[in-house]
């Protein structure tokens, strides 16, 4: 019996392994014919457009692991956009083929995911979603001459020195600056406490510019508390210090998981300052087992608010809630906008799927630096040659478990 069991296990193991191998080889083989067309540019244009040819968009982001909410939101948002475009007849008459790979928000996995997509003949990259992986991939993208538009990797380092890498989100300095300006204008004379994660690029990047800009505003920073990723389960020390320093605004340039603990602990100790978050706070409303009443009154700086009444936002929010059963956050909107921005640029440039990734890249760089784009996260978006986007941030308040713009909250 035991012998049979061990044999069965070994067999199962082999099947698993082989299934894995089969899967990995399949796309590589299937796409071999398209590869030469890509690498040899002169002949690339001469290839006849095959029947049912499609643009190959790729996406990279965390679908599992601690940052999974961001990756999933981007994927879902982008998928809605792709479905809409394909239903409406595609880009320049060609369908869009969108595949999204998981990178667990890790640089090495992200490079692997990118290589995997390149094997399957990807022409344009939407991603990576998080900053660290985006830094690793952007260098490769720059060498390979593939166009990259990241929905949410906000560090300046992602785009600097790489002419074919563009961002759809604010840069970290922009967010820190925007938050300080907003608090300085609307809550002048506040005493501000900052709690941030000091081993994270995103968090330290925003904190640095926020603190620098506070000096120009009528704001006093009374306390700065730090934590590291692994220790993110108890903030009572930071909160007590912030309270005793008399802070009435607590600025949180951090992701939503630690923020949820901060809200719960502040509530438990009866400390009720105005919490102010940036785009990483997005996602708190979809966090499982989180008591929404704790987030009541939290302010978030975001370019997207799901309660906006314009037709496109309403349409997007309805579709998203129908398909995925939750209210889309800013990341979903960023993913959606990425696809439409690419569509607009490709239509302007008259791209076709048989063009090589490099030709598309050149056309995209030209379009992105000259065009103006209206999306869910703002209208009249323009890009500089450095790859950063200019758009207006907007503050929203969490009210009854949803974002509402500050004016509507009354």
């Amino acid at each position: 019996m035991k012998k049979f069991f061990s044999l069965a296990m070994a067999l199962l193991m082999c099947v698993c392994l082989m299934a894995g191998c089969g899967q990995s080889e399949e796309p590589a083989e299937a796409d071999n014919p398209s590869e030469p067309a890509e690498s040899s540019e002169p002949s690339g244009g001469d290839e006849p457009a095959a029947e049912g040819a499609a643009f190959k968009f790729g996406g990279v982001g965390p679908l599992t692991g601690e940052n999974a909410i961001y990756g999933n939101a981007v994927r879902n948002g982008a998928q809605i956009a792709v479905d809409e475009i394909n239903e409406a007849g595609g880009i320049n008459g060609y369908q869009v083929d969108f595949s999204f790979e998981d990178d667990v928000s890790d640089g090495e996995s992200s490079v692997n995911a990118y290589n995997n997509l390149m094997d399957s003949g990807m022409q344009v990259l939407v991603g990576p979603v998080t900053t660290g992986p985006a830094l690793s991939v952007s260098t490769l993208v720059n060498q390979d001459r593939v166009f990259m538009l990241t929905p949410s990797a906000s560090s300046l380092d992602v785009v600097t020195g790489k002419d074919n890498v563009f961002q759809l989100c604010f840069t970290d300095p922009n967010q820190g600056m925007g938050s300080a300006t907003y608090i300085g204008t609307n809550m002048p004379g506040s005493k501000v406490a900052v709690i941030y994660r000091n081993d994270d690029i995103y968090s330290t990047g925003i904190r640095d510019t926020f603190v620098a800009e506070c000096e120009n505003q009528d704001l006093e920073i009374v306390y700065e508390g730090t934590f590291t990723g692994e220790g993110a389960s108890d903030f009572s020390v930071q909160l007590t210090d912030a309270q005793s320093a008399g802070a009435d605004v607590v600025f949180l340039p951090i992701y939503y998981q630690p923020a949820s603990i901060i809200f719960a602990q502040a509530d438990a100790m009866g400390y009720e300052p105005t919490f102010f978050g940036v785009d990483g706070m997005d996602g708190i409303l979809t966090l499982k087992n989180f008591d929404m009443s704790l987030a009541e009154g939290v302010m978030v700086l975001t370019p997207f608010s799901a309660d906006a009444t314009d037709e496109r936002t309403v349409n997007f929010v309805t579709k998203y809630s129908e398909q995925f059963g939750e209210t889309p956050n800013q990341f979903a909107a960023d993913g959606y906008d990425c696809i439409y921005a690419l569509k607009q640029a490709m239509e302007n440039a008259g791209c076709t799927p048989d063009m090589s990734a490099e030709d598309i890249c050149d056309a995209m760089i030209e379009q992105f630096t000259t065009m103006s784009f209206d999306g869910l996260t703002g209208s009249g978006l323009t890009w500089g040659t450095d790859g950063t986007v200019s758009k207006m941030p907007m503050a929203v308040v969490i009210h009854d478990g949803a974002y509402v713009s500050v004016e509507n909250a009354g």
Binding site: K2, K3, S6, L7, M9, A10, L12, M13, C16, L17, A19, G20, C21, G22, Q23, S24, E25, E26, A28, L63, T64, E101, D102, V104, D106, G107, E108, S109, V111, N112, A113, N115, N116, M118, D119, G132, L135, S136, S138, T139, L140, S155, D157, G161, N198, D199, D200, I201, S203, T204, G205, D208, E224, T226, T228, G229, E230
Partner: protein
């Protein structure tokens, strides 16, 4: 007298036996390299696979070097990624700051590997002196803490280089930024605290990875088969008995531990120079455990087992991408099944049947020697 001669004879026979295993390990690695390299040049490999070649080399070196500590020395170390981290960041600093003076990339890579190994060896000595007095669980916990300390220290580190040399700031209270380095216009920022090393030139090559694997094998296998290696294994098997025959336990423990740390440092340097961005968070507890999994799966003290386990388990998550959402679940299930299967004595016996006669003879020999 007569007994001694007999012993000598047996030992020489034994040595040739282990030599066969050792040389087939070398041969296997060389063959694998030649085949993969030929395929790489012929463009027969997918990007997804060729992109993993250098990380695979790094993980092989990590696994083999950890096997020296865990399998040969018999001490559980949970901070191996810490040494990799030291090697990675010191290697990156070396490679980036020598950019101007040494234009040749392979030369710079070699220097970076040596610097990484040296720095990790120093860290190994610093950790080893107080820590190797501990045993078992205690050692495991202290090495675990070491890995975390290294991570936090590198988070505080801001390093830049210009024509005046290296500029280093320890940013303990997070009050300083890169601008405090006072770099000149031509200066480059190498490590930016929590942001890690960004904008690193990717100079690692597969050939360098292969050479590093070979060096690791030569060092580890020769150490294990040497007089010192037997002393190390004697300490593992019975410390009291080993000390009673005059073996200096601390000395040999240090020897194995520091060698292991130095090799991990070289692997780290190779790894760090393969990615344009690297944060110290990459070398956390999970990475240490991952390497430990390679070692345990390949078999404690089994060098070629470590090589195969490191290779297969690095490729596996990528090969499973076809399963989409269930990828990591299937990875974990495969891991459990492999662990069960490789530890199943009946299955082992079944697989070993063709070699039964060989094994029987091999098994008989140590028995005789014991008598």
């Amino acid at each position: 007298m007569g007994k001694m001669i007999k012993l000598g004879k047996k030992r020489s026979v034994n040595l040739t036996k282990t030599r066969v295993v050792d040389f087939s390990t070398y041969l296997g690695v060389v063959l694998a390299f030649l085949i993969v390299d030929a395929m790489l040049r012929g463009g027969m490999l997918s990007r997804s696979f060729s992109g993993q070649l250098i990380p695979i080399c790094c993980y092989i070196v990590m696994a083999v070097s950890l096997n020296l500590t865990v399998g040969i020395l018999g001490e559980l170390s949970l901070g191996h990624a810490g040494f990799m981290s030291v090697g990675a960041f010191s290697g990156i600093v070396a490679a980036m700051s020598l950019q101007g003076s040494i234009p040749s990339e392979p030369a710079r890579l070699a220097i970076a590997l040596v610097v990484g190994a040296a720095c990790a060896a120093v860290a190994g000595v610093i950790v080893g002196v107080p820590v190797l007095r501990l045993r078992g669980d205690y050692l495991a916990i202290v090495t675990l803490a070491f890995g975390e300390i290294i991570k936090e220290l590198i988070n505080c580190l801001i390093i830049g280089h210009d024509e005046n040399g290296l500029h280093v700031i320890f940013n303990f209270n997070s009050s300083k930024t890169v601008s405090d380095l006072g770099l000149t216009e031509n200066g480059i920022e190498i490590i930016k605290g929590a942001q890690g090393a960004t904008g690193t030139q990717m100079i690692s090559t597969f050939t360098a990875g292969f050479i590093l694997v070979m060096i690791t094998l030569v060092v580890v296998l020769n150490l294990v088969r040497s007089r010192s290696g037997r002393a190390i294994m004697a300490i593992r098997d019975n410390r009291i008995a080993a000390e009673s025959v005059g073996i200096n336990a601390t000395k040999y423990k240090m020897m194995a531990f520091v060698t292991s740390a130095a090799l991990a440092g070289a692997a780290g340097a190779l790894y760090g120079l393969n990615f344009s961005n690297l944060t110290s968070a990459k070398f956390n507890f999970n990475t240490s455990i991952l390497v430990l999994v390679f070692v345990v799966l390949g078999g404690l003290g089994n060098i070629w087992g470590s090589i195969i386990a490191a290779t297969v388990l690095t490729i596996l998550p990528e090969a499973l991408r076809g399963f989409d959402d269930y990828r990591m679940l299937i990875y974990a299930i495969v891991l459990i099944l492999v662990m069960l299967a490789t530890n199943n004595s009946r299955l082992k016996a079944l697989l070993a049947r063709p070699f039964a006669s060989l094994r029987a003879r091999a098994a008989a020999r140590p028995g005789k020697e014991a008598q």
